[in-house]
């Protein structure tokens, strides 16, 4: 089984949840910018959460399915259309053979995630299938997708096969069949062009003067166009250090807000380097990383202080919700007629 890229879109790459265990060798984590969206899309087609899917950025690709497939699209709303019909987000979708998937206007967020039952079966490099663009490694030939690329699809799980069987009978002609089960709205992040992100005090917050700290949490910062998968460069009120100090490089991570000498913060994203030496004023709470990843270029960000305890509490609530959704989907398999409704909140 394959899917065929007819038009590549702006920046379409194969991503999973990233390359873990090799940061100690200087190898970046990478993976989906909005990991939540990929995880949920994967679950909806019976995949493991870490299976590889497509990360679709701003301007979507056109994709041909030579054979029937089971897909789910999550993350930002890039107006997906299958054989001329709108595809709902966060749903299991049965795609008849010979289908054509296209994307249109960027309505909300800027990255959509396409999961296919069985996952994209590209080679695993250093524990992961994600594309590491700078080193030309992983994903499909280590690069962004191009027209004519054929991506192999793996063997669907038993849940994936069962969900496909449930829906195959409902597909009429080239019309996709949509699963009746859906994801609880409470579980979904509130994507916005101008989000407020919760942030924990950074390792070097104390090095900044009080004015800088209050400015950071009170003013808007806009996402500059030089931003990429490595970091979001923000522009806004200048953040000055109270004490200048040469820092010795240490670990940085997804959501680390570092401030170079020009006083304009950079938030590190999926393709961040493993270590850094700029003062870290804050760290975006993990639960809000999807909001950050979906903020389009030019979007405005506001930061709101949150305690570590609160951030971790919210993290655990979200993880619990994802597990509830997973067990709900597993139960669809044991229910023969598939008439079960699950909103993930059973």
């Amino acid at each position: 089984m394959n899917l065929v890229i007819l038009k590549p879109g702006l920046l379409t790459t194969v991503q999973d949840l990233g390359r873990y265990g090799v940061q100690k060798y200087g190898v970046i984590v990478g993976g989906a910018m909005d990991a939540f969206a990929l995880r949920i899309a994967n679950l909806l087609v019976g995949n493991g959460e870490n299976d590889a899917g497509l990360e679709i950025t701003m301007l979507g690709p056109e994709i041909y399915f030579p054979e029937a497939a089971l897909i789910a699209i999550g993350g930002g709303d890039l107006s997906p259309v299958l054989n001329g019909r709108q595809v709902p987000a966060w749903r299991t979708v049965y795609v008849p053979e010979g289908s054509r998937l296209q994307f249109g206007r960027m309505k909300l967020g800027c990255r959509a995630y396409l999961a296919v039952a069985g996952g994209l079966d590209v080679p695993v490099r250093m524990n992961s299938r994600s594309t590491y663009l700078r080193a030309g490694i992983g994903g499909h030939e280590g690069r962004v997708l191009q027209a004519g690329d054929r991506l192999p699809i793996g063997e669907p799980s038993s849940i994936g096969r069962h969900l496909a069987d449930l829906l195959a009978g409902e597909a009429r002609g080239d019309e996709p069949a949509i699963g009746r089960w859906s994801v609880s709205p409470e579980l979904l992040p509130a994507y916005a062009a101008n989000p407020t992100l919760q942030a924990i005090a950074g390792q070097e917050q104390d090095l900044f003067d009080n004015e800088a700290i209050s400015r950071f949490y009170q003013e808007d910062y806009s996402v500059r166009t030089e931003s990429d998968r490595m970091g979001y460069r923000l522009s806004g009120g200048e953040l000055r250090l109270a004490t200048k100090r040469e820092l010795i490089s240490s670990a940085v991570t997804f959501g680390t807000v570092q401030v170079p000498p020009d006083g304009q913060p950079i938030v590190l994203m999926a393709d961040r380097q493993t270590t850094g030496g700029y003062p870290r004023i804050a760290q975006v709470a993990s639960v809000d990383l999807p909001l950050l990843a979906q903020t389009p270029l030019g979007g405005r960000i506001r930061f709101r202080a949150v305690s570590l305890e609160e951030a971790q509490k919210q993290y655990l609530v979200r993880e619990k919700g994802i597990r509830v959704l997973r067990s709900g989907l597993e139960q669809l398999q044991t229910n023969r007629n598939g008439k079960v409704r699950t909103n993930g909140e059973r």
Binding site: V22, Y25, N127, T253, G255, Q273, Y315
Partner: protein
């Protein structure tokens, strides 16, 4: 979450500061300045975590002064529910506790000899276009720069900046040279350079402002292997000068 909430624990002669890096990692810092004794602690903790990762640990990243341990809060909490249910603490406190337990054990653990890795380098010529400049800067001959550079032992403090790039400590002061005024747009993989009091080898082609003094045939980034790098934190690196002829024959031979 910052200096105010972190604490120092007695740990042999060195103290360790344990603090959060965001909500998924804990940072263990052993000192404020780069020195061998501090790094010894970094190495000991890294070695322990490599062999005995705790439940819920995702990975660890050593650096000059600290080891950062990434964890999965859900997996950590799951473990408490099973083991010590009466104790209700957050994931960060649990991760910090796991690390403290390990630090206590480290004191008793024996030391390991570092691995010595020899890197053959063809100095000067087209591979080291800045060797004349480095020599002139210090009033040395090119051969003296080569002799000094290749006679020192270098400690791999950490890997970062690029995959497989080793931050090496131990460059003799007599050949420490400032970066170039204008960085080069692309420096070939394997190039050996000097920047200030650092020396290093570019594992992949990147732009950079280092003074280039030679090149090795040794591949430092090996993405199809595990571990994917020739060097690891804690290794001792020695550069061995080789002739152009040896360079060419090594380059031709399958490694």
């Amino acid at each position: 979450m910052n200096g105010s909430s972190s604490k120092y624990n007695p740990f042999g002669a060195v103290k360790a500061k344990i603090s959060p890096l965001g909500d998924l990692a804990v940072m263990v810092q052993f000192g404020e300045t780069i020195e061998q004794a501090t790094y010894e602690r970094v190495r000991q903790l890294s070695n322990y975590l490599e062999r005995f990762p705790f439940v819920g640990m995702v990975e660890y990243v050593p650096s000059f002064l600290s080891v950062t341990v990434y964890y999965d809060p859900y997996a950590l909490i799951g473990e408490t529910i099973l083991s010590d249910a009466q104790e209700i603490v957050g994931p960060y406190e649990l991760a910090a506790k796991r690390v403290e337990e390990i630090l206590a054990k480290l004191e008793a653990s024996g030391d390991q000899q570092p691995r010595i890795v020899e890197i053959p380098v063809c100095y000067g010529g087209e591979f080291g276009p800045d060797l004349p400049e480095v020599a002139a800067y210090h009033n040395l001959s090119e051969q003296e720069v080569i002799d000094i550079h290749s006679s020192a032992d270098y400690l791999v403090y950490m890997l970062g900046f690029a995959p497989g790039f080793a931050y090496l400590g131990g460059l003799p002061e007599s050949i420490a040279t400032p970066r170039r005024q204008t960085p080069r747009l692309s420096i070939p993989a394997g190039t050996v350079g000097i920047a200030g009091d650092q020396t290093g080898v570019y594992p992949i082609a990147t732009p950079g402002g280092w003074q280039l003094i030679g090149r090795t045939t040794e591949a430092l980034f090996l993405p199809s292997q595990m571990p994917p790098t020739r060097l690891r934190a804690g290794d001792i690196v020695r550069f061995r000068p080789i002739s152009r002829a040896e360079y060419d024959s090594r380059e031709a031979a399958p490694s």
